[in-house]
């Protein structure tokens, strides 16, 4: 037992550093980091790997680690390793209607007359483009991709009835700062489409007064199932600065 505790004491730091290093490498290699972070965060992750490499290497040869592993040290290491269990268990899941229900604050999120975030030529229009440059799109027919939510209490309060919405999250750094953008779907939505399924909605953009604010709607909408986009979250384009 004593030998085991000494062995654990010797390799504690190396285990922590290596586990984090391997996780970051696998997230970058497989693109899994996109479930948690904006693609623009990739250089920062690479920087973390550059820092972790020498630390992990050094921890293998560090002197003065010949003592037994204490309870506090083991607990500290376990806590630092704990997030890895959640990162791996989350897999490629993304924030869905559960998060939409807790984060959607209503019509105030529509930014009419805001700074255009218009998609570059050739790129499809996104829900973010509609929100940041709503005036430019009103009356036009657009196709946008997002997740479907048939029931949301906040939308129901705003609209006065149960109304399906197409939503997507906009992130700046990570999913923790994700803010939902949503459009009301004004038209038939196929019964076969489940909540949280990725759909493409095509319709005419309108701005509706709701709850003292404004909410975007797609009139005469046609909804069909589509594949999950490569980038599940939308990101603000910093280029406008």
């Amino acid at each position: 037992m004593d030998a085991l505790m000494r062995l654990l004491g010797r390799w504690r730091l190396a285990a922590v550093c290596t586990a984090w290093l391997v996780t970051l490498l696998s997230l970058i290699g497989g693109g899994g980091y996109r479930s948690f972070l904006t693609p623009g965060f990739l250089p920062v992750l690479l920087l973390a790997i550059i820092v972790l490499f020498p630390l992990a290497f050094l921890s293998l040869f560090r002197r003065g680690s010949g003592g037994r592993l204490t309870g506090a040290e083991a607990l500290g290491a376990a806590i630092v390793l704990l997030p890895l269990a959640y990162i791996h268990s989350a897999g490629d899941a993304v924030l869905a209607s559960g998060a939409f229900n807790t984060r959607f604050v209503g019509g105030g999120t529509v930014m009419t007359g805001g700074e255009p975030q218009t998609a570059a030529q050739g790129e499809p229009i996104t829900l973010l483009d509609l929100f940041t440059d709503a005036d430019a799109h009103v009356g036009t027919t657009v196709s946008v991709v997002g997740m479907l939510s048939r029931e949301n209490r906040q939308v129901e309060i705003l609209m006065g009835r149960k109304t399906p919405v197409l939503f997507r999250f906009v992130i700046t750094c990570c999913a923790a700062d994700a803010a939902p953008v949503a459009v009301v779907l004004d038209g038939p939505v196929g019964a076969g489409l489940a909540d949280d399924s990725w759909v493409e909605a095509r319709g005419v953009v309108r701005i509706r007064e709701a709850g003292g604010g404004a909410i975007l709607a797609l009139e005469n909408v046609v909804v069909k199932e589509t594949a999950r986009p490569k980038e599940p979250y939308l990101a603000m384009r910093w280029g406008v600065l």
């Binding site: 004491g9 730091l13 550093c17 984090w20 997230l27 479930s35 948690f36 920062v44 973390a48 820092v51 972790l52 020498p54 630390l55 050094l58 002197r63 003065g64 680690s65 003592g67 204490t70 309870g71 506090a72 040290e73 607990l75 500290g76 376990a78 806590i79 630092v80 704990l82 997030p83 269990a85 959640y86 990162i87 268990s89 989350a90 899941a93 924030l95 559960g98 998060a99 229900n101 807790t102 984060r103 959607f104 604050v105 105030g108 999120t109 930014m111 805001g114 700074e115 906009v170 992130i171 700046t172 750094c173 990570c174 923790a176 700062d177 803010a179 604010g213 603000m236 910093w238 600065l241």
Partner: protein, 370 residues
């Protein structure tokens, strides 16, 4: 004049410190948290918690690593004398200068705690340390750019955020020093936490932990950084020492970050933001509610402006500013990490002063019609 050598004390480990009950309780909690994603990973709430918790950690970990590396480099390369020569002698001038350091060295709130720990241990005056700690995550070009972008290139919110962030940080730093008086604000071990597990020096110089007979009890002599020439010859230089210190700082601060991130993720998973909007609609409470939201959400200062901007038209501008200025200075994870730096009384005073400062700012803005 060289300081009297002090025996090196082992760095405080998470859950340690002789609190016998805390260790088993924490162990059970960590064990339960570890199996939660396995047994209930399919539940919507658990999946959301996993995503948010993982996101906060993945976002913060690179900055935490960079912060600990910077802290290690400071420990290895910057002497106390050098530190003293860099700062103005007057307390208020040092605080003013330190509060503006973020313009040159932009650091987010996750990275700044280990950096300030090492700077403080090197003799950075308490007022300057607090000023940099509070202002650094606000008064920097990245935060200025993100605030500008979030508010549709309107320079007013950005300018107000940076100005008030700076002023409140300096005011709190100077007041805290006066309030805490001789007892000081830093934890007692701060200057001595130059050791690591099993009582050996972190820098790899081979010095033992408890008052060595050869007279080389490890302390950092004035005029040199960590690990002078003797140890450099042995261990391959100060860069190795810096990495070793970084490892120790990482293991000392990361558990607090994880704990804070977990609490923040629970809050983000369970709390409906609309409730805060409804409460904030009441003029008297709007700033207080938005401040509470900032504490609970634990957002990065580079991203929080976008959340604040999403409340436009729903809560007054003064309440949005309260959210923007308070969040980078005080939230759940910072509260836990501040205990690595400050005595408990100092943490309470710091939080009280920051909240008071932000409240006064919000009231002033509200009275000014904003």
């Amino acid at each position: 004049m060289q300081p009297t050598p002090r025996p090196v004390q082992p760095a405080r480990a998470f859950g340690g410190g002789g609190r016998t009950l805390l260790l088993p309780i924490m162990t059970v909690l960590v064990g339960a948290a570890a199996v939660l994603p396995i047994v209930a990973g399919n539940r919507d709430e658990v999946r959301n918690f996993s995503l948010i918790f993982s996101s906060i950690m993945l976002e913060a970990m690179p900055f935490m690593l960079l912060g600990t590396l910077a802290a290690g480099l400071i420990e290895a390369f910057v002497s106390r004398q050098r530190m003293a020569s860099l700062l103005p002698r007057r307390k208020w001038a040092a605080a003013c200068a330190a509060a503006a350091l973020g313009i040159v060295f932009p650091v987010c709130e996750c990275a700044i705690v280990p950096v300030v720990r090492r700077l403080a241990a090197k003799g950075l005056p308490p007022a300057a340390a607090v000023a940099y700690l509070l202002a650094g995550p606000i008064v920097n070009p990245v935060v200025a750019a993100s605030t500008l972008l979030a508010y549709n290139l309107d320079p007013v919110p950005m300018a107000l955020r940076l100005c008030f962030g700076y002023l409140i940080a300096v005011a709190v730093a100077l007041l805290l020093g006066k309030m805490c008086g001789r007892s000081g604000i830093f934890i007692a071990k701060l200057g001595q936490e130059h050791a690591h597990d099993h009582g050996r020096c972190a820098c790899g110089c081979g010095h033992g932990g408890g008052g060595e007979k050869d007279g080389l009890a490890h302390h950092h002599h004035d005029g040199e950084g960590c690990c002078g020439s003797r140890s450099r010859e042995k261990e391959g230089g100060r860069l190795t020492a810096a990495c070793n210190h970084a490892l120790d700082d990482f293991m000392a601060t990361a558990p607090y970050l994880v704990a804070g991130a977990a609490i923040a993720a629970i809050a983000q998973t369970c709390l409906e933001r609309r409730v805060f909007v409804d409460l904030a609609a009441m003029p008297l409470f709007s700033s207080a509610v938005m401040m509470l939201l900032a504490v609970l959400l634990n957002l990065c200062s580079e991203a929080d402006a976008f959340i604040a901007a999403s409340f436009r038209g729903l809560v007054p501008f003064s309440a949005q500013m309260a959210f923007l200025v308070l969040g980078p200075m005080f939230d759940i994870k910072l509260l836990l990490m501040y205990r690595l730096l400050f005595r408990m009384e100092a943490v309470i005073a710091l939080v009280g002063l920051v909240v008071l400062g932000v409240t006064v700012m919000a009231m002033g803005l509200a009275m000014g019609g904003l």
